[in-house]
């Protein structure tokens, strides 16, 4: 029962707890943990009673019961709201935590920390959570500029290229001049179009310009797959299908539209759709959304791990049935089921007997 136990040794992904000598910091730390997963909030949301959870966690819980897990007040998925302030607090706490943890756990190290700076002193200690990988905070201003247009899929960069303001200065290969009407500087070839449009900013043309490209662009517009529109649709939450009415084919088409496996029977499909919707919708409640590829990998990983657990469970069951104690317990557990089957067969026999043939079946 020591902390070096192999089960805990694999716990490197867990954040180190604060020592009990600092109850105030313990309390602060605790208050930033989701009560469901017992980890720092990831994509925190609030429900009407005021309690907050990770988006993923509360969505999972509301599928099982439509109540707040903390106070039992009624709640539904529709009432979930993002809690941006909390998200910001958790984000900054995540950065500050290793520093403060170092200060609390070992006062003598204080000086060396002050000297070397927090980054170096705690590089080893800071167990970054995976969601950070997709977010590097100091990246291009475009990604941070608005919440809505954040990178959801890998190809979001296309969108940035169309932003008129950012690319204005970049197309420096063209000769520039200022507009005679509004004094905005722009490539000369754009000025007449700019004036025609009533001094509106002009979309810079793609660098590898040509008829082919233009044609493709127009095709995109006419096919209804305009870039902006497409993105908007992707950012919407997925509406849940009615699992009892949906046919396997319909479930498969949902899975297919997100490039997911369509393997398995209806329960397996429904389960996959359900889990995907959970992952997808909660991914929209955070400022650090993962890419669809990462979500897909997560889904697959969870499914594989569940399969492993199931196999393990079956093995265990088999080994338990080898012992007389386990056998007795199994008999006890399945007694009801056995009785039901027995009754059913008796009933069926009675009917058959009624039709003439005398064939009583002896059970036991």
């Amino acid at each position: 029962m020591d902390l070096n136990h192999p089960l805990l040794a694999s716990a490197v992904d867990l954040l180190p707890p604060f020592p009990s000598s600092h109850p105030q910091i313990q309390r602060l730390d605790r208050s930033l943990y989701c009560q469901i997963c017992k980890e720092l909030f990831s994509g925190p949301v609030s429900i009407p009673c005021g309690h907050s959870f990770c988006s993923r966690c509360i969505r999972g819980s509301l599928e099982v019961m439509k109540k707040c897990p903390s106070c039992n007040e009624p709640a539904s998925e529709g009432s979930i709201r993002r809690n941006r302030a909390l998200e910001e607090i958790v984000d900054s706490w995540e950065e500050a935590r290793p520093i403060i943890h170092g200060l609390t756990s070992n006062n003598s190290r204080k000086r060396s920390i002050m000297n070397t700076g927090p980054k170096n002193a705690f590089a080893a200690e800071s167990t970054k959570r995976p969601r950070k990988e997709s977010t590097s905070r100091s990246v291009s201003p475009v990604k941070q500029s608005s919440d809505k247009k954040e990178e959801i899929d890998g190809d979001a960069d296309d969108m940035i290229a169309l932003d008129p303001y950012t690319n204005m200065a970049e197309s420096s290969e063209d000769v520039k001049a200022s507009c005679p009407l509004c004094d905005i500087t722009m490539p000369i070839r754009d000025i007449s179009r700019h004036i025609d449009l009533g001094c509106q900013p002009i979309k810079p043309r793609p660098k590898s310009q040509g008829r082919e490209n233009l044609k493709a662009d127009w095709k995109k517009v006419f096919s209804g797959a305009g870039l902006v529109k497409g993105k908007d649709v992707e950012l919407k939450k997925i509406t849940k299908p009615n699992y009892s009415l949906a046919t396997p084919a319909e479930l498969r088409s949902v899975l297919q539209s997100y490039n997911l496996s369509t393997f398995g029977d209806k329960p397996a499909l429904a389960h996959r759709v359900q889990e995907w919707i959970l992952l997808y919708n909660s991914n929209l409640d955070t400022s650090h959304p993962k890419s669809l590829g990462a979500l897909r990998a997560k889904l697959n990983e969870a499914e594989a791990s569940r399969r492993r657990d199931k196999e393990k469970g079956r093995e265990e069951m088999a080994s338990e049935l080898k012992t007389s104690d386990g056998l007795a317990r199994y008999a006890q557990d399945t007694k009801g089921e056995f009785e039901r089957l027995r009754r059913e067969i008796m009933e069926r026999d009675k009917k058959r007997v009624g039709s003439g043939a005398e064939a009583p079946i002896e059970i036991e």
Partner: protein, 170 residues
């Protein structure tokens, strides 16, 4: 797309565990709980996985609270976690025979609302064990699993005798 409905309260759920968070999340949460139990232990309560390669089955021990007929007695429990944990409660049994109104003497099954319909995802192994500890001294005699025990609860001296005759030390 007519089969898609915005009503999310459909009572029909896929037959497979509905809100499965995936085996990985369960694993992580159980390790986290283990870590908490190890780093901030509570007196009279402990729990640990049965074997190194299976986090889904734990053994727990519970010491009877002072001032009750169970004082000084230690009980062993088995905890088995479903893959939908923490959205679904773990199955908990007394492995040590426990003569108590809400515990089945033979099987060790426990009748406690938070382990059935009152379960919530915020509960943990720690909260369950604390609840069980207080259940020992404060039984719910209106819904007994052991009817005889619930009837003899009134006479504490006689009750304690029965607890001790049924008890088997670890």
């Amino acid at each position: 797309m007519s089969q898609f409905t915005t009503v999310q309260t459909s009572p029909h759920k896929p037959s497979v565990g509905s809100a499965d968070s995936g085996g990985l999340a369960v694993n992580k949460r159980l390790r986290k709980e283990l870590m908490t139990l190890m780093t901030s232990p509570t007196s009279g309560i402990s729990a640990f996985p049965e074997s190194e390669n299976n986090l889904f089955k734990w053994l727990g021990t519970l010491t009877g609270p002072e001032g009750t007929v169970y004082a000084g007695l230690t009980f062993r429990l088995s905890l088995s976690f479903p893959s939908e944990y923490p959205y679904k409660p773990p199955v908990i049994r007394f492995e040590t025979p426990c003569y108590h109104p809400n515990v089945a003497l033979k099987t060790g099954d426990i009748c406690l609302d938070i382990l059935q319909d009152k379960w919530s995802a915020v509960y943990s192994v720690h909260t369950i064990l604390v609840s069980l500890q207080s259940l020992l001294g404060d039984p719910n005699n209106s819904s007994p699993l052991n009817v005889e025990a619930s009837q003899s609860w009134a006479d504490q001296t006689a009750f304690k005798e029965r607890v001790l005759t049924n008890y088997r030390p670890l």
